[in-house]
C-alpha cells in the first residue's frame, strides 16, 4: 500500500486516489514533426523501469489532480526527483 502525498491533504492512503497514467511528452505541433514522431507522441506511453512521473487524482479527498514521481521498481515516491516532467 502506498502513502501518497497530496499537496492539499498531505499523506493519504493509496485507496483514496485514482491513477491517471504517466505524464507523457508535451504535445508537439503536428505541422512541424514527422509522421513517425507524431505517431510516437500519440501512442508511446512512458514505461520505464525506475522513476516515472505520474498523474494521480485525489478522488476521495480534495478532488485535485497532481503529479508525483514514483519509482516503478521500489514504489518509492521521490520527493526530490532529478528531472522535471
Amino acid at each position: 500500500m502506498l502513502l501518497i502525498h497530496c499537496p492539499f491533504c498531505k499523506n493519504r492512503n493509496e485507496t483514496e486516489f485514482v491513477y491517471g497514467g504517466p505524464v507523457g511528452a508535451n504535445r508537439p505541433d503536428p505541422n512541424l514533426v514527422s509522421d513517425e514522431e507524431w505517431v510516437d507522441y500519440l501512442t508511446m506511453v512512458p514505461n520505464p523501469m525506475g522513476p516515472v512521473y505520474e498523474r494521480w487524482w485525489h478522488a476521495r479527498g480534495c478532488d485535485q489532480w497532481f503529479i508525483i514521481c514514483r519509482d516503478t521498481v521500489t514504489h518509492e515516491i521521490l520527493e526530490n526527483p532529478s528531472e522535471e516532467p
Binding site: 492539499f8 498531505k10 499523506n11 493519504r12 492512503n13 483514496e16 476521495r60 479527498g61 480534495c62 478532488d63
Partner: protein, 166 residues
C-alpha cells in the same frame, strides 16, 4: 468485544458547496461569513455554523437544517458572480455522529485516515474514506462526525452495526 460509543444518524444539515478564489468568496460572503478557514483540511465555527476548507478554493458551509431558508436568502446562490459557485447540497449527504471513549476505534476500523493527534487535530475537516466511500470527516466534541452520500446511508448504518457487533 463491544465498543463504548453512541452512534446517531442525523439525516439532514443545511449544506452549501462554495467554490472560487478566496478573495472573491470572502468579498461575496462578507455580510454573513466573518472569516474563512485558510489552513487546508480545517474548519472554523461561527455560531452554530461550521465552515470547512475541504479542497483548493473549495469550502462547505454546514448549518442546522432549520436555517437553510435563511441561508439561501443571505447567500443568494442564484445571484452570485460568475467567478464563484454556491450550490445548495443539503439533500446529498447524510451525517453520522460517533461519540464516546471508543469513537477513535470505530473510525479507525471504518477509515484509513491517520487519526493521530498530530495529523488529525481538533479543527481538522477533510474528505477521506469511510467503508470505501468518499466521506466528509471532522471532529465532533470528543468524537467524530462524518457524512456520506445519502444513498449509502442505510448501508453505512448497517456496517456500523456490524462494527459494533450488534
Amino acid at each position: 468485544m463491544t465498543y463504548n460509543v453512541k452512534i446517531q444518524r442525523k439525516l439532514l444539515n443545511a449544506l452549501f458547496d462554495i467554490k472560487g478564489s478566496i478573495r472573491d468568496v470572502k468579498s461575496y460572503l462578507k455580510e454573513c461569513v466573518k472569516s474563512l478557514p485558510v489552513k487546508p483540511s480545517s474548519y472554523i465555527t461561527q455560531g452554530n455554523w461550521k465552515i470547512l476548507y475541504v479542497g483548493p478554493n473549495h469550502w462547505i458551509l454546514l448549518a442546522p437544517i432549520d436555517q437553510e431558508q435563511q441561508l439561501v436568502s443571505s447567500l443568494r446562490p442564484h445571484d452570485c458572480p460568475a467567478s464563484i459557485s454556491i450550490v445548495l447540497i443539503s439533500d446529498t449527504l447524510t451525517f453520522f455522529h460517533i461519540d464516546g471513549p471508543d469513537a477513535f476505534d470505530i473510525i479507525s476500523i471504518a477509515s484509513p485516515i491517520n487519526l493521530n493527534a498530530d495529523a488529525f487535530t481538533p479543527e481538522t475537516a477533510t474528505f477521506s474514506e469511510i467503508f470505501g466511500l468518499k466521506a466528509l470527516i471532522f471532529r465532533h466534541g470528543d468524537g467524530f462526525q462524518f457524512a456520506v452520500d445519502q444513498s449509502f446511508g442505510d448501508m453505512v448504518s448497517n456496517y456500523l452495526d456490524l462494527t459494533l457487533a450488534n
